[in-house]
């Protein structure tokens, strides 16, 4: 049986004591500092005994939690933070010694390992979507059993276009919120829910504006700095602070446009980055951008795939937001979006980081590659692991990057 959050906070401190200080070369904007402080503040709140905490996987909309004053704990995303401090190996070993196969996703094994090691903030609830990956819901279910807490599945239908798919998902969102509210002993406050949805819409408005600005040549921010906005910021949708964050980011980038400041002097090429990154080391992106001058002009994780939500229909709106994510359904939806982005951002080449154990995203790569090759768009797949840096080969990776960039020319 797990201990209290105070004990878990102490266990976390002990755990972090062995970590290395992670210094990112990608920190040029005030907005980035604000983002990091917001992450830290939410993370700290999760460890407070007074907080009601819900573990969520990356795709559970935080709006449904903030509407109930529940603190979201992004279990998978937090593992990226541990990887950045070189702390993943111990929880990975713990998971493997508890019979979790090393062939499964290292994000999920780190979640297991840190929960067994009792340094994660004990949840009051756990919620996972059934997408992208099969593993997330399984691991959250498993962890729920370990903590003796309710686990809720958001079973996401395959075909986003169908009215019954939206209805089914909307029903589940409402059902889960009602159950959580009942357990907490409150009723859903629809005025508050509307406020949360409006905040989310407002923040999204600024993100769309940011994404529009990022079409600028030269690129206004490095991909190494922007990529983390997606996964970590997904923990803030619905907060007023997210509005402030994206508004600040927009204003900073607008200023760069006015002052004609690019993120990378002598930008040679514009790259589209697909999927996540190696969180144990910023080296790969640093090498591509800072050393080789090929800016990551955009990354798919920051793509705004959803429409404005209707605060009068929060459940359906959130269902549509979840379902609109291109990689959920047929591959052609995802490829269409990729090609749009390539055109809009005047991309010279595409790099995909293939996280070992990520069946859903990696499995699309061979077909995506064929479609890009048909159109003469160079595509590089970097095999690696987002969390586990043990097998990372610096030399090998750089050789492949060099060969790819030479293909783009100018080297």
């Amino acid at each position: 049986m797990q201990s209290s959050r105070i004990k878990q906070r102490e266990n976390l401190r002990q755990f972090l004591r062995d970590g290395k200080e992670s210094k990112s070369p990608f920190y040029s904007l005030k907005a980035t500092g604000k983002r990091l402080r917001l992450i830290a503040s939410l993370f700290k709140r999760a460890y407070s005994p007074e907080s009601i905490v819900a573990w969520r996987n990356t795709f559970v909309p935080t709006e449904m939690l903030f509407a109930l004053d529940i603190v979201p704990f992004a279990a998978e995303a937090n593992c990226a933070m541990f990887a950045g401090s070189d702390l993943s190996i111990k929880p990975l070993d713990i998971a493997e010694s508890n019979f979790y196969s090393a062939d499964t996703c290292s994000f999920l094994r780190t979640v297991i390992g840190t929960s067994i090691g009792d340094c994660m903030a004990c949840p009051d609830f756990l919620i996972s979507t059934s997408h992208y990956c099969d593993g997330a819901a399984k691991v959250f279910y498993d962890v729920g059993k370990r903590y003796g807490r309710d686990f809720f599945l958001l079973d996401v239908p395959y075909d986003y276009n169908l009215p019954e798919a939206i209805d089914y998902l909307a029903f589940q969102i409402e059902d889960i919120m009602q159950k959580m509210a009942k357990t907490i002993g409150i009723k859903i406050d629809y005025n508050k829910f509307a406020e949360v949805i409006n905040n989310s819409n407002e923040a999204t408005k600024y993100l769309r504006l940011v994404n529009e600005l990022r079409k600028n040549i030269p690129a206004l921010m490095l991909g190494g700095e922007s990529i983390d906005y997606a996964a970590m910021t997904a923990n803030f949708w619905g907060l007023k602070e997210a509005v402030d964050l994206y508004k600040l980011l927009y204003e900073e980038l607008k200023e760069r446009v006015s002052n004609k400041i690019g993120a990378l002097p002598g930008e040679k090429h514009r790259i589209l980055w697909r999927n996540l990154r190696a969180y144990h080391s910023p080296e790969i992106m640093e090498y591509i951008e800072i050393k080789k001058g090929a800016v990551i002009a955009f990354e798919e994780t920051n793509y705004v795939h959803w429409e404005n939500m209707d605060p009068k229909e929060p459940y359906k709106s959130l269902a549509k937001k979840i379902l609109s994510n291109p990689p959920i359904s047929k591959i052609e939806n995802w490829i269409t979006k990729t090609l749009e982005v390539i055109k809009d951002y005047r991309i010279d080449g595409v790099i995909e980081f293939a996280h070992r154990g990520c069946r859903h995203l990696n499995s699309a790569a061979p077909i995506v590659k064929k479609e890009l090759q048909k159109r003469g768009i160079p595509f590089l797949i970097i095999d690696g692991d987002c969390i586990d840096g043990r097998d990372y080969s610096d030399k090998q990776t750089k050789v492949r990057i060099d060969a790819f960039l030479e293909l783009l020319g100018g080297y």
């Binding site: 508890n98 019979f99 979790y100 196969s101 062939d103 499964t104 996703c105 999920l108 059934s130 992208y132 990956c133 099969d134 593993g135 819901a137 399984k138 691991v139 279910y141 498993d142 059993k145 599945l153 079973d155 239908p157 395959y158 075909d159 169908l162 019954e164 798919a165 089914y168 029903f171 589940q172 059902d175 047929k330 591959i331 052609e332 070992r356 154990g357 069946r359 859903h360 990696n362 499995s363 699309a364 790569a365 061979p366 077909i367 064929k370």
Partner: protein, 363 residues
């Protein structure tokens, strides 16, 4: 072992990739459901469309498709069972010209909302079939199909019952071949064959197993694979496989559908409430089901076979292991990268498992 195909008759044959796909609907349409097995050879062509470190079953299905093994199919239904099957759906449509390719969305929950959603999903599948093949799937046809498929389930259950008691007089390999061949035949024909086999055994009286002494009784659970060689090996070292809880064998025959005035609703209800396989979430229900089977078939130990990169089965294993050990049931974990789990390493591990094994009947 190459998958046998009976294409001599003029039939519409629809390939299936998952036991959650209701065959009743295809039978009601007048089609022959054809469970796709892939084959045991390493994939050669499929890795152009799917990564090499991927579900061996998905790779094999596609590989066989690319080599022309499934050209006779008039259509294929791929279920949203897991990440691998979702991507197989994409890769199949991208690389092959099967005239009708349909994705059947299977909920991961089994509450009432999921059941209603699944019913709507089945309606869409029926509409797609009717439109493409210019047929009509009526409620009467569905009821008849339920009756026929229920008979299949009942006959297979009898087959397993006799098999588990060693009363069949035919080897496990032959039983699996019978089942595999049957999955390519029209149901009525399969039922006739099964009836013949069962009656001939009953006529001859009880035929006891040729094994001397008390072989250890084992059950296999886990990912899709072709069980024959694994079973042969286990039997050659003195154990007996009395049940295979895999989707093409034991899982296929679960639960008769209760016939009522709403046959499609009855189908949706029955399929969504099958004892869960690893693609569902309820591990506790899965553990209970394995223990129930172990008791019913007097199983002394369980072999848990997971295909490499099969996340659903790999991630289930720790809790399943704990659950079975708590119940005093030994479990051996095997992992393989092919549909024919008979590598030297696997054989060594089975032998070691049997050597330390002390007969432990769950009762």
């Amino acid at each position: 072992m190459k998958q046998p195909v009976n294409t001599t008759k003029n039939r519409t044959i629809i390939g299936l990739t998952c036991s959650y796909i209701p065959e009743e609907i295809l039978v009601a349409a007048g089609f022959t459901p054809f469970r796709i097995y892939g084959d045991i050879n390493p994939p050669e062509l499929a890795t152009s469309y799917l990564p090499a470190s991927f579900c061996p079953y998905a790779l094999s299905c596609l590989d066989c498709g690319l080599k022309g093994s499934y050209e006779f199919l008039n259509g294929i239904i791929i279920a949203n069972s897991c990440n691998a099957m979702r991507r197989l759906y994409d890769a199949w449509r991208y690389s092959l010209k099967t005239p009708f390719v349909h994705m059947l969305d299977i909920p991961k929950s089994n509450d009432l909302a999921a059941e209603r959603y699944f019913e709507q999903v089945l309606v869409r599948m029926i509409n797609a079939i009717e439109k493409h093949f210019k047929v009509k799937v009526t409620d009467t046809a569905l009821k008849n199909a339920i009756t026929v498929c229920n008979e299949t389930r009942e006959l297979m259950a009898q087959l397993y019952e006799f098999k588990s008691k060693g009363e069949l007089g035919i080897s496990n390999k032959d039983v699996n071949r019978l089942i595999q061949e049957g999955r390519t035949l029209p149901k009525e024909e399969f039922n006739k064959n099964l009836n013949k086999v069962l009656k001939s055994k009953m006529k001859k009286g009880t035929l006891h197993s040729e094994k001397i002494g008390n072989p250890i009784r084992l059950m296999i659970t886990g990912s899709f694979h072709q069980p024959s060689d694994l079973i042969d090996y286990i039997e050659s070292v003195g154990a007996n496989v009395v049940y295979e809880d895999i989707c093409v064998n034991g899982r296929y025959l679960q639960k008769k559908i209760e016939l009522n005035n709403m046959p499609l609703r009855a189908i949706a209800h029955s399929y969504i409430h099958k004892s869960p396989c690893a693609r569902m979430l309820d591990n506790e229900a899965r553990i209970d089901y394995i223990l129930q089977l172990a008791k019913q078939y007097k199983v002394g130990g369980v072999i848990y076979y997971a295909l490499k990169f099969c996340d659903t089965h790999l991630l289930d294993y720790p809790l399943i292991r704990k659950g079975l050990n708590n119940a005093g049931l030994p479990i051996l974990f095997l992992e393989g990268d092919s549909l024919m789990p008979s590598s030297g390493q696997i054989k060594t591990r089975i032998k070691a498992f049997l050597e330390v094994f002390s007969c432990n009947q769950v009762g």
